[in-house]
Symmetry: C2
Subunit: 202 residues, 2 copies
């Protein structure tokens, strides 16, 4: 879309917004004009929230989830069951499972999945740290593999299972209650709960 | 959506994003996580673009359009035909008409439309400045009313027409009719009636 007639700060804002996922040219324009019509305080509050979140949110050195403290709230919570670790691909998946209020164990965020097609190998995601955690955690009894039900997610689950099982730790995979080919993040809560409940040992 | 488990900077970012038009809770979450996974430079660039646009874009004192200079690029352009002024409701409408590259006159942005239901009267939108412009512009020959084809837009057009016509300036309204490329059978009755009414000899 031609933006020649837009003043430079506006054109820049539209360009930046259209880099967000699911935001096309028209949506970016709509958002940009809306931002310009917001109260200055509100707009700066949005800008500040982006900068603050980016500056203050780090990966927890324990589990890899995004957090503003070290270790993260889940890892630091004494009431959490340290014998179960749920392995997920992304912080979004942690949020989805936490929303259930049914899982009380710990998490481990891989930040991706093994995908040879995209040149992503086991060493490119947060697997090594999982093994370090399991080695130093005598309480660990079970690892739940909650990677996405996609080819990459399955491959990643298989890979981790092969590494962890020899240590005598039970390895389970969430049940295929989640639609195959879908994204964990978009599963409805009942489906996700069923999947957690129906996990099977690998 | 419960965000209790989100770290505060993330929860704040999600809250700010979900105030944007068309951005619900799930979309705000998706955008927030995406922003956290962006390069720091990119995220700060987005935040900066919002703050800069908000700080540097003002209403042109002439036409009311959003601009980073005074007067705006259109008002300052000597090649523009100063005898025609196109009145629109919002800066978005200016962008839409500029995109056509067919109109070479000036604009006037009302920043809204008269809407008694919402308590918006003629004095709440940028009408007074239009009259000031017309009085000081001897070249003005035609005012094109390009407000939206809604009840409020029509009422606003009628109101402005009544004020401007006595000054001997031609007042026109953009045509209402069936959209080009559309299907006659799907046009609503009011639009179709207007299209019939506004028929022209070929």
């Amino acid at each position: 879309m031609n933006q020649k007639h837009f003043a430079r700060p506006l054109a820049k804002l539209i360009a930046e917004l259209s880099r967000l996922p699911g935001v096309g040219g028209k949506t970016a324009q709509r958002l940009a004009f809306h931002i310009l019509e917001m109260e200055e305080k509100e707009a700066l509050s949005l800008a500040g929230a982006i900068a603050d979140a980016k500056r203050n949110m780090r990966r927890c050195s324990e589990c890899g989830d995004l957090t503003d403290r070290e270790p993260c709230a889940v890892c630091a919570d004494a009431a959490r069951d340290r014998s179960v670790i749920c392995v997920v691909e992304s912080p979004r998946d942690v949020a989805a499972i936490e929303r259930l209020r049914e899982f009380n164990g710990l998490f481990h965020v891989l930040h991706g999945a093994i995908s040879p097609m995209d040149g992503i190998g086991p060493e490119d995601i947060n697997i090594k740290q999982l093994l370090v955690r399991l080695r130093s955690n005598d309480e660990a009894v079970e690892v739940i593999l909650a990677t996405n039900p996609t080819v990459e997610g399955e491959a990643t689950a298989m890979y981790i299972a092969r590494l962890v099982k020899p240590a005598g730790i039970k390895v389970t995979r969430i049940a295929h209650g989640v639609p195959v080919g879908g994204d964990l993040e978009y599963a409805d809560e009942v489906t996700l709960a069923r999947a957690m409940e129906g996990r099977r040992e690998l």
